[in-house]
Subunit: 327 residues, 2 copies
Amino acid sequence: MNQVGGPASGDSTVADLGEFSLISQFTRGLQMSPAVSLGPGDDAAVFLVNGSAVCSVDMLVEGVHFRRDWSDPTHIGRKAVAVNAADLEAMGAFGVSMVVALGLPPELSVPWVREFSTGLREEAEAAGVVVVGGDVTAARDITISVTVIGETRGLPVVTRSGAAPDQLVAVRGRLGWSAAGHSVLSRGFRSPRVAVEAHRVPQVPYGQGAVAAMAGATAMIDVSDGLLADLGHVARASGVTIDLDSSALPIDEPLVTVAAATGVDPLTFVLSGGDDHALVACFSVGDVPMGWTIIGRTVAVPTHAEPTVLVDGELAPRERGWEHFRT
Amino acid sequence: MNQVGGPASGDSTVADLGEFSLISQFTRGLQMSPAVSLGPGDDAAVFLVNGSAVCSVDMLVEGVHFRRDWSDPTHIGRKAVAVNAADLEAMGAFGVSMVVALGLPPELSVPWVREFSTGLREEAEAAGVVVVGGDVTAARDITISVTVIGETRGLPVVTRSGAAPDQLVAVRGRLGWSAAGHSVLSRGFRSPRVAVEAHRVPQVPYGQGAVAAMAGATAMIDVSDGLLADLGHVARASGVTIDLDSSALPIDEPLVTVAAATGVDPLTFVLSGGDDHALVACFSVGDVPMGWTIIGRTVAVPTHAEPTVLVDGELAPRERGWEHFRT
């Protein structure tokens, strides 16, 4: 009956540690960057921002965004950073720093906290951000709020609203993998392993946001709610219709495997599965960067119609997806 | 048996609203500043920072940091911003922007959310920060994580570590009021009203951090854990001993009233009560700004001793305070 992440016999708990020793689990041996003039330990952190500052926050709550029996603490730490750093990518910005606020149950084991901290650091390093500060408090459920701050380095930011008709829509990163992994885990299975791992930690295509910005991307978003849902935000913000070509959508092997085992159309994962944090952007013809996959185009919104997302010229049925993976 | 903050008959709930309508409760009619080029609604916010960026985060959890039966939603919103903005003040920085991540129980009433949002905005305005973004998720307990970003405008930041012997220690803001209010509330009373209100919303001396920085403050902190505890951080970080003069400590009228009613020494509130977020700083003699109260001095740490905080030349008993107001 020992709760996952609870103390094994002999493990000390967060309550045993106390606030200041707990904080040292996160700050000990942290590497700063030249931009950071003051890291953790004072009232606030101090760092330089080159160009405009770009800032995003996300909160992850146990039982809502992750489960301790599905994900290791390292995965959870990595995911908490990745979902946020993906927002910087989606603006075409460069990472600088992050702060993290944590609500932790007093009975949580110290090894859990240590591994979680390792995950935070690993992903921060991958994303090019430095952990400069944080806050720790008691809470009933593990609650993680990460704020990332990035910089533009003189590049224009890529919003959701700049797309125009007759542009190409292209994607970089995975689509549907996390949803396929969730589908597997919720049926009590642990394979295919790559899908399960994709659900635990998204593989954000770090650096590609800036590549898209430099290539002249007119609009960009990271796929957190699902391709249809997120391109819907771009369509409405830009006032265009987006038409996806289903034959161009990448249906990767793990999706085929999971779809076959669960009896669903793998395209459902691709169109409606969120949480992979692929980048999807609009470009003028000729501007699509190397390594990006063209999956559709923008068209003018017909008179008396609303901006929307089509698949092969037809309205994508809304029920195909997202509620599917929400509950 | 209706939970405070739960829906009255007819009130719609957070679950009724859904994510996007909920977000609009926070973003509708928000005022931006000239520094902000992109506010809420995209993947991240974009704004300018003049000088170095200064950043702090805090997480407030229902039942740990506030109680819905003790505080109105407006108070809770204001407090969530104030505790954070006080950290910018304590660096001598100027506020720029803030992002807020919220975990809200689905059964929370919409009017509660609306009033909370009003409180956030009121305090943000007082603190000179603009709400530029956020995240909302479901949670069992109301959980509020505010990240504030400030700027130095070319002034040096004031850390905890710059104090030297033979300087003066001065305070601006209230000491002990919140603890006195907590003492009253925990006994089931609601007066003196000023003390109760001080517990609900700290009165941060906005602008005085920069005043202290410009006057040449050598070290500064905001009093969140209690005067002795927080000056202990300054003493250790700076390598000095701090000697407070008990006769110089302000014992304001509400503290006297509450102390008399509860049979404690009012000095306990002043020395050990936290959560008022007064600013306490060290200055060379002659540098103390107008309106600040001199309460002690720094002295060299005696050989073989550790940096510490004294009251009238004697070691302040550790048990006088903090645990008192914790649990």
